[in-house]
């Protein structure tokens, strides 16, 4: 694992009512490089591959055992992204988010949904 990667962290609201939607925030400190660079920006504005590309390719969201969302990303997602998405509260169950980067490495985080 690269040194500048930290495990993802999740935040879920506390007051969640059944049937309503709630926000989930996931922060993942993971670098993202397009790998592109301009050799001569003044004379030749074309981009070419300068360094190896690194990015989060997939983000899978599970609510209980169900896969509810899947995010396919490219290297044009920012470094250390904060993702915010919504879910409909139907049950008390964990929300699990799995990240897979372009090298196939995998990380996950989870949080419990407690209905009030």
């Amino acid at each position: 694992m690269a040194k500048n990667i930290k495990p993802p962290r999740m935040r879920i609201g506390r007051r969640i009512k059944k049937g309503e939607t709630f926000k989930v925030k996931v922060r993942f400190e993971h670098p993202s490089f397009t790998g592109l660079g301009q050799v001569e920006p003044e004379t030749n504005p074309m981009f070419n591959r300068a360094v190896p590309v690194t990015f989060l390719r997939n983000m899978l969201v599970y609510y209980g055992d169900d896969l509810v969302s899947r995010f396919s990303m490219t290297s044009a997602i920012a470094d250390n992204p904060l993702f915010t998405f919504k879910l409909r509260a139907t049950k008390e169950a964990p929300v699990k988010v799995v990240f897979i980067d372009n090298n196939g490495e995998r990380w996950e985080t989870s949080g419990d949904v407690k209905l009030s």
Binding site: T34, P45, V68, A78, R88
Partner: protein, 154 residues
């Protein structure tokens, strides 16, 4: 970087046709000429119909972005998300960037609301960020938002 602007429906369709060649570079090449005809746009942006209001994505993007490597973007669609009628996906594209497709976000009715907030990379200068929402019954709906990026982040 030569900066081209996509501000009209005609320009969007032209880029989508070009995208049949360019977009596969990103590995998410889902747009091509066959799909271009299937896009829906707001006929009159100031006077949306109920169908347009329900399906056109709403983009929250600052008019000026200081750092193009961390451009915050929020997308939502005012859709009921029922079991048999829901937004399947939302895709973010900027045709003037070297990596045009930023990501595609797939939803299910369990989401309750098609909403995503994240940060993307944008090249310097003026650009139009296009967002395409796909409904399982009513096809693809596209809208755009213009922004100026002070320092490019690609």
């Amino acid at each position: 970087m030569v900066c081209k602007h996509v501000n009209s429906r005609r320009q969007f369709l032209r880029y989508v046709m070009i995208g049949g060649v360019a977009v596969p570079i990103t590995g998410l090449g889902v747009l091509n000429l066959a799909h271009a005809k299937a896009f829906n746009f707001a006929a009159d942006p100031d006077n949306l119909t109920d169908m347009e209001r329900m399906h056109l994505p709403q983009i929250t993007l600052p008019p000026v972005v200081e750092d193009g490597s961390q451009a915050p973007i929020q997308l939502t669609v005012d859709h009921p998300m029922e079991e048999d009628h829901y937004i399947k996906s939302i895709q973010i594209i900027n045709f003037t960037d070297p990596v045009q497709t930023k990501g595609k976000f797939y939803f299910t009715p369990a989401n309750g609301e098609p909403f995503i907030g994240t940060q993307i990379r944008l090249n310097g200068g003026e650009s139009s960020v296009w967002v395409v929402a796909e409904c399982n019954q009513h096809g693809k709906w596209a809208t755009s938002s213009n922004t100026k990026v002070a320092a490019g982040g690609c």
